[in-house]
Subunit: 237 residues, 2 copies
DNA sequence: CAGCATCCGCTTTGATACTG
DNA sequence: CAGTATCAAAGCGGATGCTG
């Protein structure tokens, strides 16, 4: 809530979304629109007054919008504004940057199934040419998530009842291993950290997905060129 | 310093760089490597113990590296690690997102000339085909900055003595106006918020730069398609 | 209940003084 | 110069209370 008082775009952005919990609120609303209690559930540990404060602040900054449903339902729905949606790809990139710290496993960290919608975007967000069309349901944690590959492009969403080709029931870190290519379906089955149900071709598609993700994650380019200046660093995405 | 304890890439990233001041420290080191005093100067208002804490934390997380120069010089140099450099394009995107809040002008916010290195990357980071090669020195605030256009690609750096085609001496918000295309050189001169010295072709190049930036900033795409799902949002960069 | 607001103990931050 | 030490103020987390 305290401004940096700097004439700098980054500082101004952080004045808006730099406070504790604020970006995670945006994450929740990036995954789906939420009622107050959905937000509370997706942000374990947040104080209720803080959540209310942050929502007010985000609304007044035009990042989120609030819709009051009429009395019979009586629910307040929060969702990202158009401007807030422009933030989503940045949060995905940040999440990708932070994923290196997820390899140590889950520990006793909180987990929600819906976060896999974000994780799938992080790991499978691009470069899937050649992977056959496939639909995968992932059941880890509270909510199932569906990943759909269609003509080389991936979409992930909260699970619905639509039929899928493959169903994965696994621990959160096993799911991360599978999607990031660090853990093969065969090995996951052998270690009994995942139940994978579906035809062989779909299991192969899952393997292919993991391989693509691994190819993007492992080979941290050798930075032997001098790219200490800003524009060059900014270019090498 | 307090972890969110969530098994989520974004939360893990914020555990590392989500604390107050931390991203701005990364910003300073993205612009150039720094000694302690450079960081203090670039982060007006930071408490010295906080800066020391953050630097320790960033080093232990592998985001920055510290080099101790031998006694005669006796300076400690901080710079981004390879992993820290992967964060820079994300900070640039965040700064771009936050730039909409810079249009209200500078107010009594702090300003450092070197921040224009970041601002130039934000505004002119791409799509400059057709702009003639030109070198521009900007003098606003304490340190001059040089922008160089070369074959459709922009590089910005702290000012050196290399000759330039155009020199701009202006207030910080006038510089932002010029680079973002909201303020034409002609109008800036008329309002006496900028001195622009150089040949007519270079002034036209500056105008062209502003036009490119404006073309990317103004036309906030009409979001009439339903892109509330995560992957679609993530795609529309 | 959902959606906050209030209170309280604790932690983090900001400002300043101090040290090798 | 490059930090460390100290302390008041602000922010946060947790519990609880209020209101439609």
């Amino acid at each position: 809530v305290r401004s940096y008082h700097q004439y700098c775009g980054l500082a101004r952005a952080l004045d808006v979304i730099g406070d504790r919990w604020t970006m995670l609120i945006v994450r929740e609303l990036a995954i789906r629109e939420c009622r107050y209690r959905d937000l509370r559930d997706g942000l374990p540990g947040i104080a209720t007054n803080l959540l209310a404060d942050r929502l007010r602040q985000l609304e007044s900054d035009g990042v989120i919008e609030r819709e009051e449903a009429p009395p019979p339902v009586g629910a307040t729905i929060y969702r990202l504004s158009p401007h807030g949606r422009r933030l989503v790809p940045i949060l995905v990139d940040l999440a990708r940057w932070g994923t290196v710290w997820m390899t140590q496993g889950r520990g006793d960290d909180e987990f929600r199934g819906r976060w896999l919608v974000l994780a799938a975007t992080v790991l499978l967000g691009q470069a899937l040419e050649g992977v056959p069309d496939v639909r995968i349901r992932i059941e880890a944690g509270d909510e199932p998530v569906v990943i759909e590959i269609r003509r080389g492009s991936m979409a992930s969403r909260l699970g619905d009842r639509a039929p899928v080709d493959l169903t994965i029931r696994a621990t959160p870190d096993a799911v991360m291993g599978l999607l990031s290519g660090q853990l093969s379906p065969r090995r996951a089955r052998r270690l009994r950290v995942a139940e994978i149900e579906g035809p062989a071709w779909a299991v192969e598609a899952l393997t292919a997905l993991g391989d693509r993700a691994a190819a993007r994650f492992i080979p941290e380019r050798s930075d032997d060129v001098d790219d200490r200046s800003l524009p060059q660093s900014a270019r090498d995405r």
